[in-house]
C-alpha cells in the first residue's frame, strides 16, 4: 500500500493523479524520466531495425516475398519425330504420366488399393511390397497412359502422385525396328537412329520464373532462365512402302527355309539413300519385354560374313580394267580343281572351257582364280578398299563395322587366290550392297545416307564406264536359265546380280552351315535400286543362294520397282526357268 503519510508530502513535484489533495500521489521525478527514456530507446531500436531491413539488408525480405509468390516453371520440350521420306511418322513422343508414391503417406482401404493394383496392371503383393519400402519416393509404374492416370487420381488415395513424362511410340512396330532403334523410359535413344541422332532429336527443357497469385494462376512473367528447345524432326531416307515389302518377303523366306537369320538392304542407285533395311529376327519396339540379343542385332550393319561368290565381279572387273582379258576370252577351268601350295580349290561341277562372262554366269572358282593370279595383290587390295571393304563406314549409324581385310603385303598365295572369290575377307551386307554401286552407276561410287538428301552426293570414279557396263552385262546373264540364279528374274524388267553361297566359319573351320546371299540391281538398262539379300543358315534342305536368296531378290525388286513407278525395260513377259539348276561353286 502506498498510502503512507511520507509519500503524500511529495505533492507538487510529481504528476497530480487526482484533484483531491488527499489522493495525490507524490512520486519521485526520476521514475517518470526513466520510463520516458526506456520508451525512447525502444522506439529507436525499432527505427534502427526498420532502417536495417529496408535500406541495408534488403535481401532477406525480398527473398521471403519471392518464396511466397515467385515460382520457377519447367517448360517441357518434346523429342523430335522421325518420319520416312514421304513424311509418314515412324516414331513420335507423346506425353504420359509416371505414377509415384510417398509410401509413408499412403493410407487407403483395401478395396482402393486393389483397384489401384488393377489399374497399374500389377499384382497386389507387388504393389504392397513397393508401398512397404522405407524410401520416401517410389515409382509405382512409369509411362502410364493419361486416361489410366486420371482414374488413379480420381481414387483420391493420399500419397499417390503423378509426374509428366514422355513415351515414344513406333506405329510400324517390328517392320522398321532395326533402323529406328528405341528410347529408354527417360526418352533417351538406346539403339539405331534414335541413338545416332540423339543430340539433334532430344529436346532441351527450359524453365521460366513467374509470379503466381493466391489462386495459383500465373499473373506475371519475370523472365526466362532457359528457353525450351524442341527436338528437331528427322526425315529418313527410308521408303516405308519398300521397307514393308522387304520385311514381308524376308519374313517369308526365313520361315520357309528355316533360317537362323536374314537381312535385306535396298539402296537408291542415284542418290545413295538407304530405302529399306530389314533384319530377321526382329522385335517390337513398342513392347520390349523378353528381348534377346539375336533380335536386337542389326545384321546388315554389325555382322560380317565371308561374302563368297558375290566378290567375283570385282576380280573380273579388275582383269578387264587391266586389259588382261575381254568378256569373250576363253579360260580353261577343267578339271574343275586347282592346287595352290598345299590347298585345293574347286568348282561344284567341272565346267571345262568357259568365257569370262560364263565364269560369272556359272560362278566358277577356278576361272576366277586363274584371272586373279595374273593380278598383283596390291591391285586387288586397292580396288576392294576403294569400294569400301575393310573401311570404317561413315553412315552415322551406331555399331557399323569395318569388316576385315588383311593388308596385301601379308597375303599368302592361297589367300590371294581365295580372296578373288570372296573367302578370307569379311564384309557386312551394307558394305557389299554399296560396293555394287560401281557396276550399277557405270564405274563410280557415292556415299550412303540414312537421311533424305536434298542434293546429289559427289561421285568418285573407281573403274571405267566400259568395264562397269561389261561386268553388268555379265551379271545379267547370271539370271538366265543357264546362270546360277534364274529365280532372280523379274517379270518385265531386266535385272543383274550375283549369287554368293559361303560355308560358315565355326571355330576356325568351315562347317556345313551356309550363308546364302544375292546382290543385284534393276532395271539393268538404267539401274535404279540395288537389293542385297542375305539368308543365314538356311536349313530346310536348300542352301544355294540361287534357290534361297534369289527368289527374295526377285519379289522385293518387282514390288519395289512397281512402287517407285519404274517403267519396264523388257518385253519378256515370261520368266524362263531351266530344267536343271546350275549349282554355283562354294
Amino acid at each position: 500500500m502506498r498510502g503512507t503519510p511520507r509519500s503524500r508530502t511529495a505533492a507538487g513535484r510529481g504528476v497530480p493523479f487526482s484533484p483531491s489533495p488527499v489522493l495525490a500521489v507524490k512520486l519521485p521525478a526520476w521514475r517518470s524520466r526513466v520510463v520516458l527514456f526506456l520508451m525512447f530507446v525502444a522506439f529507436a531500436a525499432l527505427a534502427v531495425r526498420a532502417f536495417w531491413l529496408q535500406a541495408i539488408s534488403t535481401e532477406f525480405l525480398q527473398k521471403q516475398g519471392a518464396t511466397r509468390s515467385v515460382r520457377t516453371l519447367e517448360l517441357p520440350a518434346t523429342r523430335g519425330k522421325i518420319t520416312d521420306r514421304n513424311g509418314e511418322v515412324l516414331a513420335s513422343s507423346l506425353p504420359v504420366k509416371a505414377v509415384w508414391a510417398i509410401p509413408e503417406d499412403v493410407e487407403a482401404p483395401a478395396e482402393k488399393l486393389r483397384e489401384l493394383a488393377r489399374l497399374l496392371d500389377m499384382s497386389q503383393p507387388d504393389l504392397k511390397k513397393k508401398l512397404a519400402s522405407d524410401r520416401s519416393f517410389v515409382y509405382l509404374k512409369r509411362q502410364v497412359e493419361n486416361d489410366v492416370t486420371e482414374r488413379i487420381v480420381s481414387l483420391g488415395i493420399p500419397g499417390i502422385h503423378t509426374r509428366k513424362e514422355y513415351k515414344r511410340f513406333y506405329p510400324v512396330g517390328p517392320v522398321a525396328a532395326h533402323i529406328l532403334g528405341f528410347t529408354n523410359v527417360e526418352d533417351i535413344g538406346q539403339e539405331g537412329i534414335e541413338l545416332a541422332q540423339q543430340s539433334s532429336l532430344a529436346g532441351v527443357t527450359g524453365s521460366r520464373r513467374v509470379i503466381k497469385d493466391r489462386l495459383g494462376r500465373v499473373i506475371e512473367d519475370i523472365g526466362f532462365i532457359r528457353e525450351p528447345r524442341d527436338g528437331r524432326d528427322l526425315t529418313l531416307s527410308i521408303d516405308s512402302n519398300i521397307q514393308y515389302i522387304a520385311y514381308t518377303q524376308l519374313r517369308n523366306a526365313v520361315e520357309v527355309h528355316k533360317a537362323k537369320a536374314g537381312a535385306i538392304v535396298v539402296l537408291d542407285v542415284r542418290t545413295g539413300e538407304v530405302m529399306a533395311l530389314v533384319n530377321m529376327p526382329t522385335y517390337n519396339p513398342n513392347s520390349r519385354q523378353g528381348l534377346t540379343g539375336a533380335q536386337l542385332r542389326n545384321r546388315v550393319m554389325t555382322d560380317t560374313f565371308e561374302p563368297g561368290s558375290t566378290m567375283k565381279p570385282f576380280t573380273v572387273a579388275l582383269a578387264l580394267e587391266n586389259n588382261l582379258v575381254t568378256p569373250a576370252t576363253l579360260i580353261d577351268t577343267a578339271p574343275g580343281k586347282m592346287t595352290i601350295g598345299s590347298a585345293t580349290i574347286g568348282d561344284a561341277h567341272p565346267h571345262g572351257v568357259l568365257s569370262v562372262a560364263q565364269i560369272i554366269q556359272k560362278s566358277s572358282n577356278v576361272g576366277t582364280v586363274k584371272m586373279a593370279l595374273q593380278l598383283e595383290p596390291r591391285q586387288m587390295w586397292d580396288l576392294f578398299t576403294a569400294v569400301g571393304f575393310g573401311q570404317q563406314p561413315h553412315y552415322g549409324f551406331p555399331g557399323a563395322v569395318a569388316g576385315r581385310m588383311r593388308p596385301y603385303k601379308s597375303w599368302r598365295p592361297i589367300e590371294h587366290a581365295t580372296m578373288s572369290y570372296g573367302h578370307g575377307i569379311s564384309v557386312s551386307l551394307i558394305q557389299i550392297a554399296r560396293s555394287y554401286m560401281i557396276f550399277a552407276r557405270d564405274g563410280d561410287t557415292i556415299p550412303l545416307s540414312f537421311q533424305k538428301l536434298d542434293q546429289l552426293p559427289q561421285a568418285q570414279r573407281i573403274i571405267s564406264e566400259k568395264t562397269a557396263r561389261a561386268v553388268r552385262d555379265m551379271m545379267e546373264t547370271v539370271v538366265n536359265p543357264a546362270g546360277t540364279a534364274p529365280q532372280a528374274q523379274v517379270r518385265g524388267y531386266r535385272v543383274a546380280g550375283k549369287t554368293g553361297t559361303a560355308h560358315k566359319l565355326v571355330g576356325g573351320r568351315y562347317a556345313n552351315k551356309y550363308v546364302a546371299s544375292f546382290v543385284g540391281f534393276a532395271p539393268a538398262s538404267d539401274p535404279r535400286i540395288i537389293v542385297a539379300v542375305m539368308i543365314d543358315e538356311p536349313s530346310n534342305g536348300q542352301y544355294y543362294a540361287g534357290a534361297v536368296a534369289a527368289p527374295v531378290f526377285a519379289s522385293v525388286a518387282a514390288s519395289a520397282l512397281r512402287s517407285l513407278n519404274v517403267a519396264p525395260d523388257s518385253t519378256v513377259t515370261n520368266v524362263i526357268m531351266p530344267a536343271q539348276p546350275v549349282l554355283e561353286s562354294l
Binding site: T78, S92, L94, Y244
Partner: protein, 89 residues
C-alpha cells in the same frame, strides 16, 4: 493550399489510378495468353496423337489385309499396267 497544388494532386491521383488499371489489364491479358499457350500445347499433342493414329491406320500390313480380304483386290499383272512418266504424253 494553392490551386496549383490541387491540380497536381488531381493529376497524381489520375496517374495512380491509370497505373492500377494498366497493371490489371496487363495481368488479365497475361492470363489470357497463358491459356492460349496451354491450348496450343494441347493442340500440338493432339496433332501428334492424330499423326500417330494415321500412321497406325495406314500401316502397310493393315492396308494389305484390308485390300485382300475386304475389298478382294489383287496386284495387277504387268500387261494390264500402263506406266506414266512425267513429260510424256
Amino acid at each position: 493550399m494553392n490551386k496549383r497544388a490541387i491540380l497536381l494532386l488531381a493529376v497524381l491521383m489520375l496517374c495512380a489510378l491509370t497505373l492500377v488499371n494498366a497493371q490489371f489489364q496487363a495481368r488479365r491479358l497475361f492470363i489470357a495468353l497463358e491459356h492460349t499457350q496451354a491450348r496450343q500445347r494441347e493442340l500440338e499433342i493432339t496433332w501428334a496423337q492424330l499423326q500417330l493414329e494415321q500412321s497406325q491406320l495406314a500401316k502397310h500390313a493393315r492396308i494389305e489385309t484390308q485390300a485382300k480380304t475386304v475389298l478382294n483386290m489383287v496386284v495387277p499383272a504387268q500387261n494390264r499396267t500402263q506406266y506414266l512418266t512425267a513429260g510424256a504424253h
